[in-house]
Symmetry: C2
Subunit: 394 residues, 2 copies
């Protein structure tokens, strides 16, 4: 029940207060970008002298500089902007996908300083292979960019125990009970956060994508598997042991196909990549590129798109209605293949949700939008997970 | 994004610290009962002198007394117990059900000081009728118990906007867009919190029922409608505008019966009271008492129970698998009619979840238990919602 008690009693000593204000200010600059001291005072509810003390401290430590805004607003002397130095804190982010591993060094403010990626196939998909390649690529990035990461965030398409980064099941990678967090931390010598890719994607949309300023949102991504991440009251929704939900495994069609997970008729079996292939009259193992090209072609022919994807859209709608009714989000963001669906098909899905979800009606309509981050979502989100403790300690 | 910032910077002034510690201590006593100063110091992470100051202050205000424990543990002088006075803060709680309204005055510690209830039927179910009857009954309870409530909590079987207590849709009451919170506050002259009955039930299980010490849990209640409440990281899960999810309206059978909500094949249409009646070979409008009696009879004949409720158990399992996969709870608590199902049927449902939910497998098995609070759940939970601000201000 301790979780029900108001915040930590320790948060009352003056030095804690300073640390607290400093962390809040750095986080504000990291998430929302440079702004004036006056803006910081207003947003953080602190007086100008406190802001001055914190900003001066950060400037002395080389974490921020104060600069004259390039575009002057109104007349008179422009007030200085507090600008974080991207290199003052750097994290390494790794997005392990079914077909590829993408990595990047990310600085304060979310600036991507450099990237590296390689393709995965059966033989290079073994955990040990991936860990070694990540370590080698990390060193290349450090040398090339002359930076060193302070922490590491990893996104994985599977069931992950956040507490220690154990990957329980990542069926599409063929992984089971892989101690990814512990093993990567040992190899890289840095703290490592491992998260489910949809949790990372949801965090990215919330901090830097379509969900900025939306406290309660759901991110749904269609890939080989279907994942979903939930942001509730501004923070990622996690369950017991730090596991997050597997929205792709709600049962929408009990008499449907068997799912690898042991159930049948999971949403994933009706709207995942193989299902999309079937709907398009293509083999279930059609390469992603071909699927996306076919979807683009369909987008140019709305009538054909609606005809051909009517069934697929129906299952999309059923899944979205269940998600909206269960979680009452203020926004639903569609990523990956879902974001590539023809506009007419997405409109059909939106109409279903509007018409048939009592919660959507109650909240005055639940918007369903396409992710502006595209495939970078999980990569950006994993970086933010790594940044959390780093910014606290700056 | 403010929700992402660490707690309020204002929590740093000394008087705030005192208030904070006092509220934390009162809440600890309210939720977990009397204990020694040493226990309080350990649990709240405060030193003994701080605890002494706070306890002395509360004693002087007549909110707590220090008493010699009745059962002495070990040898030597027993340490005094800090005991809250139930009447030091009293709330009124109201549980509006489809067939009945139950009310109670509740004191600190969750002690029910007195109750009152009456049955509802079509003519007395009008919002104005209910509000008037609640006001009259509240006065009777005040006079009878010689107490005055400081706040009011109300549980309603419907879609509720927590922010202002607007009841959007309560189909089984025939209510739509009823400003229950505002109207009751005006009549009673007290702050009123209105919540969905399943949210209240979940809070009750978390604070005083099967979910004590479980930070992430789901409460599912079978009534005329089916409701679910979620506790995440120790707090009720709410969506946009303070709405909570409607777990009874996940779509489990797209080709199933039409639901009042506008969708078809909602979980509610397969496991709600009418569906249970059908499964038992009784009319859909069979009175609840008859259903419960029939379930008791079935419990005595396990083979017949399994035969007759096999289909019903199947739909229970499908709904539970979806809930467990989506939310990864550490515990599922079944209330109302779900709690009255024969043990063999519940075992069948548990086996389904264990075998077919990948999240249950990942977390090492998700326990499914019957609520120990029975029909009082929502009443107790609504009281706790009313207590939250009251305890903060003591």
């Amino acid at each position: 029940m301790t979780t029900q008690l108001p915040g930590p009693a320790s948060g009352t000593r003056p030095d804690d207060a300073r640390r607290h204000n400093r962390a809040a200010l750095v986080r504000r600059l990291h998430v929302d970008g440079p702004c004036t001291r006056a803006t910081l005072a207003g947003e953080l509810g602190l007086n100008r002298s406190t802001i001055k003390a914190v900003v001066d401290g950060l400037a002395a430590a080389g974490i921020v500089t104060e600069a004259i805004p390039t575009r002057r607003s109104g007349a008179g002397r422009p007030s200085l902007l507090v600008v974080p130095d991207p290199q003052a804190a750097v994290v390494l982010t790794v997005d392990v996908r079914v077909d590829q591993v993408a990595m990047a060094m990310v600085g304060i403010g979310g600036q991507i300083l450099g990237r590296h990626s390689w393709n995965l196939h059966r033989s290079t998909r073994l955990p040990g292979e991936v860990i070694t390649h990540v370590a080698e690529s990390a060193q290349l990035l450090r040398d090339e960019l002359a930076v060193t990461e302070q922490a590491v965030g990893v996104s994985v398409p599977g069931v992950v125990r956040r507490d220690d980064g154990l990957v329980r099941e990542a069926p599409n990678l063929g992984w089971r009970d892989v101690e990814l967090g512990t093993r990567l931390a040992a190899v890289l010598g840095r703290p490592v956060q491992v998260a489910n890719d949809a949790e990372a994607g949801a965090l990215a949309e919330h901090l830097r994508g379509a969900g900025r300023d939306v406290a309660d949102m759901v991110y749904l991504a269609g890939d080989v598997g279907v994942g979903g991440g939930v942001i509730s009251a501004g923070a990622p929704l996690r369950g017991t042991g730090g596991y997050v939900g597997e929205l792709g495994h709600m049962i929408v069609r009990p008499d449907g196909r068997d799912c690898f997970c042991g159930a049948s008729g999971c949403w994933e079996t009706e709207v995942g990549e193989p299902a999309l292939g079937r709907a398009l009259g293509l083999p279930e193992d059609t390469p992603r590129g071909v699927l996306v090209a076919e979807l683009r072609a369909l987008a140019a022919d709305p009538d054909r798109a609606e005809r051909q994807l009517a069934g697929f859209a129906g299952w999309m709608g059923i899944g979205l209605i269940t998600v909206v009714n269960m979680l009452a989000p203020g926004l639903v963001v569609l990523g990956d293949l879902f974001g590539a669906l023809p506009p007419t098909v997405l409109d059909r899905v939106r109409a279903d949700v509007e018409r048939r979800s009592l919660v959507s009606r109650a909240v005055g309509g639940t918007p369903v939008v396409v992710s502006p981050l595209g495939r970078d979502g999980a990569l950006i989100g994993a970086a933010e997970l790594a940044f959390e403790p780093v910014l606290e300690a700056l």
